[in-house]
C-alpha cells in the first residue's frame, strides 16, 4: 500500500510530503505518525510541506489533528516550508491551522524543536 515515508532522527520524526495526497493517503500519514510517536518515543515531529502546491481543508485538518494527537502524546509538531500562495489560499478558505507551530524552513523548524542542525 502507498505510504508517505517517515524518517527518524534522534528523538525526532521527519516527514517530507512530496506527492499530491489523496484523502486516504493523508489519513494513513496521520495514523502512521501517531503510531510512530509512541513506538519511537519521539519528542518532536517536523512536517515539510514545501513541495505541496495545495493544502485544502482535508489536508489542513489532517495537519491540525496530527499536531493535536502529538501534543497529547507529549510530542511537538512543527510544519515548515509552506508556499506563500498556499498560505494566502488557506487563510481565505478560512483555515487557520489552529494550534500548529510553523517555521519558514527545515532549519528554523529544527531550531524550534530545540535541535541545532549543523
Amino acid at each position: 500500500m502507498e505510504r508517505i515515508p517517515i524518517l527518524r532522527m534522534g528523538d525526532l520524526l521527519l516527514v517530507t510530503i512530496q506527492v499530491d495526497m489523496h484523502d486516504r493517503l493523508a489519513m494513513q500519514l496521520q495514523d502512521d505518525l501517531t503510531q510512530r510517536i509512541v513506538s519511537d518515543s519521539a519528542k518532536g515531529v517536523l512536517i515539510d510541506i514545501s513541495a505541496l502546491d495545495l493544502v485544502d481543508s482535508f489536508i489542513g485538518r489532517m495537519i491540525s489533528n496530527t499536531a493535536a494527537m502529538a501534543r497529547v502524546l507529549d510530542a511537538r509538531t512543527v510544519v515548515v516550508g509552506m508556499q506563500p500562495a498556499v498560505a494566502i489560499t488557506l487563510v481565505e478558505l478560512g483555515l487557520t491551522l489552529h494550534g500548529v507551530q510553523t517555521a519558514l524552513n527545515v532549519e528554523k523548524g529544527m531550531a524550534l524543536l530545540g535541535k541545532s542542525y549543523r
Partner: protein
C-alpha cells in the same frame, strides 16, 4: 474522458448552459474516488497555467476545485465535473461545473455558512470555495441533485 456513462445528464440545470456563447471548450471528468479528486486538481492546474493565471489564483482555483470535487463524492454520492474554457472577448477564464444526482442541499444559505457541516468535516468547503473564485453559483433540488459552478478569470 467522456464515456457512455457520463454522457447522460445527471441533473438538469440551467448552469449547464451558463455563458454558453463564451465557452470555447468542455471536458468532462468522472468523480467517484479519492484518486479522481487528485486527477481533477491536476487537470485544473494545467488549465489555469495554460491561460496564464497567477500562481496565487491557480492555487485558489485548484483548492476550490478540490473542496467541491470532494463534496460531489461525499455528499452527492459521486458525479462528474465539466472543465470549461471561457473567452468573454476581454479575458480568458476557467470554469468548473460539479454535478451530482444526489439528495440535494436542503438549505443552501446555511450550507454556505462557515462551520456548517452535515458530514463531520470543517464546514469550509462551500463557503470557503466561494471566497476563492470570481463567480459562484449553486442549483440544487431535493432528491434530484446539485450543481455547483465556479469561474476564475485571468486578471
Amino acid at each position: 474522458m467522456v464515456d457512455a456513462q457520463t454522457q447522460t445528464v445527471l441533473f438538469e440545470t440551467p448552469l449547464l448552459e451558463h455563458r454558453r456563447a463564451q465557452r470555447t471548450g468542455r471536458v468532462t471528468l468522472r468523480l467517484r474516488s479519492d484518486e479522481d479528486v487528485v486527477g481533477v486538481r491536476k487537470q485544473v492546474r494545467e488549465r489555469a497555467v495554460a491561460i496564464g493565471l497567477s500562481l496565487v489564483d491557480q492555487t485558489k482555483l485548484v483548492t476550490a476545485a478540490s473542496e467541491l470535487a470532494r463534496n460531489t463524492i461525499k455528499y452527492g454520492g459521486g458525479g462528474e465535473v465539466h472543465l470549461d474554457a471561457f473567452d468573454d472577448g476581454a479575458r480568458l477564464g476557467v470554469g468548473l461545473l460539479f454535478v451530482d444526482a444526489g439528495q440535494g442541499i436542503p438549505n443552501i444559505e446555511s450550507a454556505l455558512r462557515d462551520g456548517f457541516t452535515t458530514g463531520g468535516g470543517l464546514g469550509l468547503g462551500l463557503g470557503g470555495s466561494k471566497r476563492l473564485v470570481d463567480e459562484f453559483d449553486i442549483d440544487s433540488r431535493p432528491k434530484e441533485g446539485t450543481a455547483v459552478l465556479i469561474i476564475k478569470w485571468k486578471r
